[in-house]
């Protein structure tokens, strides 16, 4: 068969596929399953024609046309359009807690790397209040003093900023740090360890200093509720980053590249969940933790309940036996 005969015989299929691929959103949105099946059939036919054209050394323009056609058809036929509410329910009902349990080693390391500096620096700051100056400058300490002192403004605020302004700030600042913590895992996990340890040390120094100053009640009642989500979140961000670093350092029987890609696919589930936790933490921190009208003991009880809830969620949610019931 000559190229011209080939073109004449199959041009109708190509033209139909070309028309179907033309981006016309109004029309595409209304496509039914029958249309999509038709597009898939046309696409497979075009693939076959391309293979034939290549094996017979048909003219370049013919192969180019078929190549472009199949490339665009491939994008449409294999497009994933399945992120809906069911996927989201599955993510938080099963996938996220299961992924955290699957990464228990990384979570544990991140927890130690976070908690150790927190405790050590916390105790040192409590025993030797001057020590805090090696991590913060005096102005910042002064601010903390005002924020958690017995003044009239909301707790944990430099000024009487409105709740919404602080919500925006917490989202941008905290989630940005968490994402960088995850990204730092690409450097053999060192970046993640650094971010986690630094945040542990900073939190410890403030806690130790304020306890020594006698603002412990204000401070702990402020942090306990959102801390359940925020502190867990930073540890999980570190764990996700460590999973990347671990894959690079110890790829096992895969190439480093394949191990990294697999680890990233698994760890990104933790990042989804962690991001949601930071959003919850930011909302709590902005609208609940800072409220002076809530009695301290109520905040402590709610905070404790949040901690228990978060821990139970990671321990028990989405285990195979339960998810089925």
């Amino acid at each position: 068969m000559t190229p011209l005969q080939f073109e004449a015989r199959h041009a109708a299929v190509w033209n139909e596929l070309e028309a179907a691929l033309e981006p016309s959103p109004r029309q595409r949105r209304g496509t039914r399953a029958a249309d999509r099946a038709r597009v898939a059939a046309l696409y497979r036919a075009a693939c076959e024609h391309l293979a034939i054209a290549e094996s017979r050394s048909y003219p370049v323009w013919l192969i180019d046309r078929l190549g472009a056609l199949t490339a665009r058809g491939h994008q449409l036929v294999y497009a994933q359009r399945d992120f809906g509410i069911d996927k989201l329910r599955r993510l938080f009902g099963v996938d996220f807690p299961a992924a955290v349990r699957a990464h228990r080693l990384h979570v544990l390391i991140a927890l130690v790397v976070f908690a150790a500096p927190l405790l050590v620096v916390g105790v040192m700051s409590y025993l030797d209040p001057g020590f805090v100056l090696s991590l913060h400058d005096a102005g910042a300490i002064d601010d903390y003093e005002k924020m958690y002192g017995d003044a009239d403004g909301p707790i944990g605020r430099r000024t009487a900023a409105s709740d919404w302004a602080m919500f925006g700030f917490y989202i941008r600042h905290n989630i940005g740090i968490a994402f960088q913590c995850f990204a730092g895992g690409l450097f053999f996990g060192i970046g993640s360890l650094f971010v986690v340890a630094l945040n542990g040390a900073l939190a410890g120094s403030v806690a130790g200093y304020l306890t020594w100053r006698g603002h412990g009640e204000n401070f702990y009642s402020f942090v306990i509720t959102h801390g359940a989500f925020e502190l867990t979140g930073i540890v999980l961000a570190g764990a996700a980053g460590l999973a990347l670093g671990h894959a690079l350092l110890v790829p096992g029987r895969r190439s480093r590249l394949a191990a990294l890609q697999l680890a990233a696919r698994r760890a990104i589930v933790i990042v989804y969940g962690m991001t949601a936790m930071f959003v919850v933490a930011a909302a709590l921190e902005a609208f609940w933790s800072s409220a002076r009208w809530v009695p301290v003991h109520v905040k402590l009880v709610v905070g404790a309940a949040c901690w228990i809830g978060v821990i139970c969620y990671f321990l028990f949610q989405g285990r195979p036996g339960r998810s089925r019931s």
Binding site: C47, R56, Y78, F83, A161, A165, V271
Partner: protein
């Protein structure tokens, strides 16, 4: 056609095999177009944020919070939202004809898009995307670190409706000798390009083939004679 090692070192095309058994030829986009696309995206975001900020500033503290929220979304999720859209590319990339796909040639998945965009944090280090740029310069497929981990590829979008370069009209004539498939393909490909070549260059190339293909076409128009052979090969007899 077996590619020589020199050609395979020069050529950045990237073949991804599909389940249908064909090879999609992806053309990874290099540093420069991606840099332009990124600049356009930054510009779009800056303009959008500035305009939004003017209105949000009227809302006082609430507006400040919403502005920070908007900043966060623009900073981290702007690329994700667009990459998962129909075009698979941010406005800047679309402007330069780039699109993001999986390195299997498949459309990008939500997980991969989020991975590559969150790992921007690593690409950016130590500053100004230094690691990302180095990674792109050292790799044939121009992946930055985020692309490596997510298994994604930034490619030049396949052009649609490529100019069907059929050879110009000429009376068909049979070749004088039997031609191999490669020789046939070369003559037809040359004939398709004649319209875009200068006359002198077309003639110069024709000179290589004419003595073998049409020995009696002396003195006449070699180019027209060879185009005629191309027509014969295509099936006009």
């Amino acid at each position: 056609m077996p590619a020589s090692s020199a050609a395979s070192r020069l050529d950045t095309r990237y073949a991804a095999e599909t389940p249908e058994g064909i090879a999609l030829l992806l053309r990874p986009a290099g540093l420069v177009p991606r840099l332009y696309a990124y600049s356009v995206d930054v510009l779009i975001r800056v303009v959008f944020f500035s305009v939004a900020f003017v209105f949000l500033a009227m809302l006082g503290r609430l507006g400040e919070g919403l502005a920070l929220l908007l900043f966060f979304l623009l900073e981290w999720l702007y690329p994700v939202a667009f990459e998962l859209g129909r075009s698979g590319a941010t406005p800047g990339k679309r402007m330069l004809g780039l699109t993001v796909v999986m390195d299997t040639g498949l459309p990008i998945t939500p997980a991969a898009s989020l991975t590559r965009n969150l790992l921007r944090g690593a690409d950016f280090l130590p500053s100004l995307y230094a690691f990302g740029v180095l990674s792109m310069l050292f790799r044939r497929d121009f992946k930055r670190l985020g692309d490596i981990a997510a298994g994604t590829l930034v490619v030049h979008a396949p052009q649609t409706g490529a100019p069907a370069a059929a050879p110009p009209a000429a009376p068909a004539r049979a070749p004088a000798v039997a031609l191999t498939a490669r020789a046939q393909a070369a003559i037809v490909a040359w004939a398709g390009r004649v319209a875009r070549l200068t006359e002198a260059r077309a003639d110069e190339l024709a000179e290589i083939a004419v003595p073998v293909v049409v020995p009696r076409a002396m003195g006449g128009d070699r180019v027209a004679a060879l185009v005629g052979v191309a027509h014969w090969l295509l099936g006009r007899r």
